[in-house]
């Protein structure tokens, strides 16, 4: 009972608290981070490939690496991150209330969230779309055949609204069973409560491979019913921190484009003659000072987590359990949508 209200109460209390102490919060997240010595990073309670703790409590994933890269750039050490697991209802309140410095929790960039919550989305780190997972034995090959089916999903997400929009537009009646936690929702599906499960396609792949009793019994339907550009968020009103949260991921994307990797960064720092590479490894013009950081900010970020392509491969790509194709998440010059404004 009590813990049902705990997030709610925490929010109310924090709102009241920062209501009383508003001036102290005016900007300067960077100063607070330096003083504290850690970056507080809001993540999921566990979505494979994006942010999930292992049995020793070590976090890994694409979103986790974004936070580690920022910690490396700002504090010089990728380990100096406090991960704060949040469910989808808690995430926004936690950022608004200042419990975290950055929310890297596979959150879809939408107009409402961008304009009405007091946040800024930084850089899209993953292009996703919402899909459906169904048991093979139902012999369903398209989402349009799901008439009168029951669909399990998680509350407080864009998924819940998209599924409602999609089937309303198609005039296909479906029922949804909505759970508070992601885990409860997929467990209900795998136990047979629902005929379909819906969430972002990336998470579907992870679920089928990691959670299904037998992965071969399930198929992902071809329809993607939405665009889900996933991006980290920061609070509005602190442009200095916003810039850091934007340019660290951009630098990792540019590192892939210009061939700077975790392995060759040291060697390029010593020998590279390419100005684009030199800027990334900290031997060219000093871009760090424009961000309130030192010259080696992007070098440390690359050394910590590798470039975007390496991050992708390790967490969600061929070297991970998800084995997702690069697809839309390939670089712009290789047919994908991943594009960083020039780091110069």
């Amino acid at each position: 009972m009590k813990n049902r209200f705990r997030p709610a109460l925490a929010v109310a209390a924090t709102v009241a608290a920062f209501a009383a102490a508003a001036p102290a919060f005016a900007g300067k997240t960077l100063d607070a981070v330096k003083q504290r010595g850690t970056v507080k990073c809001g993540v999921t309670n566990g979505v494979a490939g994006f942010s999930a703790p292992d049995t020793q409590g070590n976090w890994s994933g694409l979103d986790v690496d974004t936070c580690r890269a920022i910690a490396a750039a700002v504090l010089g050490d990728p380990k100096k991150v406090d991960f704060v697991p949040l469910n989808s209802q808690q995430r926004f309140s936690a950022l608004q209330a200042g419990e975290i410095d950055i929310l890297a929790r596979n959150t879809t960039w939408t107009l409402t969230r961008d304009t009405s919550l007091g946040f800024n989305f930084t850089t899209i780190t993953y292009y996703d779309g919402q899909g459906f997972l169904v048991p093979k034995k139902l012999k369903v090959t398209s989402a349009k055949q799901l008439k009168n089916a029951t669909i399990c999903t998680q509350s407080g997400t864009t998924n819940e609204k998209n599924v409602s929009d999609y089937f309303r537009a198609q005039n296909i009646p479906v029922k949804t069973v909505v759970f508070e936690s992601f885990e409860a929702s997929f467990k209900a599906f795998f136990s047979g409560r629902c005929q379909a499960f819906t969430t972002d396609a990336s998470a579907l792949a992870g679920l089928r491979n990691k959670e299904a009793p037998n992965p071969d019994d399930y198929v992902i339907l071809p329809e993607l019913i939405s665009k889900e550009p996933l991006a980290p968020l920061v609070r509005r009103g602190d442009d200095e921190w916003f810039a850091i949260a934007k340019w660290v991921p951009n630098a990792l994307i540019e590192a892939e484009e210009f061939g700077v990797t975790q392995a060759n960064a040291d060697e390029l720092k010593a020998n590279s003659k390419d100005p684009a590479q030199q800027r990334l490894v900290g031997t060219g013009e000093d871009l760090g000072k424009l961000l309130g950081l030192d010259k080696d900010w992007s070098f440390r970020a690359i050394k910590a987590v590798g470039n975007y392509g390496e991050m992708f491969e390790r967490n969600v790509g061929p070297k991970s359990v998800l084995k997702l194709p690069r697809g839309s998440n390939n670089l712009w010059n290789k047919g994908g949508l991943i594009y960083a404004p020039p780091v110069r």
Partner: protein, 332 residues
């Protein structure tokens, strides 16, 4: 004390209390006003204007039909109705079951007494959330798949999708039921008729079983509070044990039972908010979804608080009226 002095004292007390109420209201107003001001300054949209906008999510079970094109206020109303839909049956079941177990704990029969004691100790010492999740897990794993439902009776099907029964339905546009709608087997399980969803059964059963343990203790204390002489008097009149209980003991025990029972019903209603964990769409679930889509945490929590306050006051009012009826004359 002279009459005039006592009148002055009453007047003074009235003034002091009024000032106190005024101070509390002003304080609360200031906190809310200031918090909203700060939210606005931080670029967070706030206010209750969102309640008239379309909700964009659907609620798939409950007494009040709700689809995504309807406004948020109606979603909250549907959530409130669903809270009541779960709490009222749970309250009735828990009082009935709790009374039986409470009496059972005082039974002369050793085995019966042991079972009732074990029930109380087990159920009241395990957190309700854990019990709910266990129930949900049991239902999810024991029942047959929706595509292979079990036919219990003609038109009555049981599966993981719930228990489907025939239900009166009205024809096109009419309010009056004209025929029975029979559940039928479809591609994805049973459809039509009325269905008790597993989520609903989980929350009603979970709340009933849990609260019954507390009700049992209240009933036991009530019975023990009735003096032994009343029992002996009943025996002397030649009443059977059941008659003694029904005519002599329980009516007197009610005076002790009712005030504590009120507290129990209040906590049962508030505990219904745990339904969100097992997928039943009640008030807190609707509020969570709303917070997820527009971030109005402050407003949604205010609504939750106001609604539970209102429900609690209603229950207190009703139970106090009942208490006044069973109370010993002269105590008031």
């Amino acid at each position: 004390m002279s009459r005039e002095a006592s009148r002055r004292g009453a007047w003074l007390a009235w003034v002091v209390q009024s000032l106190l109420v005024l101070a509390v209201v002003a304080g609360a107003f200031w906190v809310v006003h200031h918090a909203l001001e700060v939210l606005r300054a931080r670029g967070v949209r706030s206010g209750f204007d969102f309640l008239v906008e379309p909700a964009g999510f659907s609620i798939s079970e409950g007494w009040l039909d709700f689809d995504a094109s309807q406004p948020f206020w109606r979603a909250f109303l549907a959530g409130l109705v669903n809270t009541v839909r779960a709490s009222v049956p749970a309250a009735i079941f828990s009082v009935v079951l709790g009374t039986l177990i409470g009496i059972g704990r005082l039974a002369p029969h050793v085995l019966l007494r042991g079972i009732c004691t074990a029930y109380v100790e087990l159920l009241r010492n395990v957190p309700l959330l854990v019990q709910l999740l266990m129930l949900a897990f049991a239902i999810a794993n024991l029942l047959p798949d929706p595509t292979e439902p079990v036919r219990l009776l003609p038109g009555v099907w049981l599966s993981k999708a719930g228990l489907s029964v025939p239900w009166p339905a009205s024809g096109e546009g009419g309010w009056w039921p004209t025929h029975f709608e029979w559940p039928e087997r479809g591609d994805f399980g049973v459809s039509g008729g009325a269905a008790l969803s597993p989520e609903y059964v989980t929350i009603v059963a979970g709340l009933s079983f849990y609260s019954a343990a507390f009700v049992a203790e209240i009933v036991r204390a009530g019975i023990l509070s009735v003096s032994q002489g009343q029992v002996l008097a009943g025996q002397a009149l030649g009443l059977t044990p059941v008659q003694q209980l029904r005519i002599v003991i329980l009516p007197q025990a009610l005076r002790v039972i009712v005030p504590s029972l009120t507290n129990q019903l209040l906590s049962l209603t508030k505990n219904s908010s745990l339904a969100v964990a097992v997928g039943y769409p009640e008030l807190v679930s609707v509020a969570n979804t709303t917070i997820g889509s527009n971030g109005r945490a402050f407003e949604c929590i205010a609504i939750i608080m106001a609604v539970y306050l209102l429900l609690s006051l209603l229950i207190s009012f009703g139970m106090n009226r009942y208490n006044a009826r069973v109370a010993l004359r002269g105590w008031r």
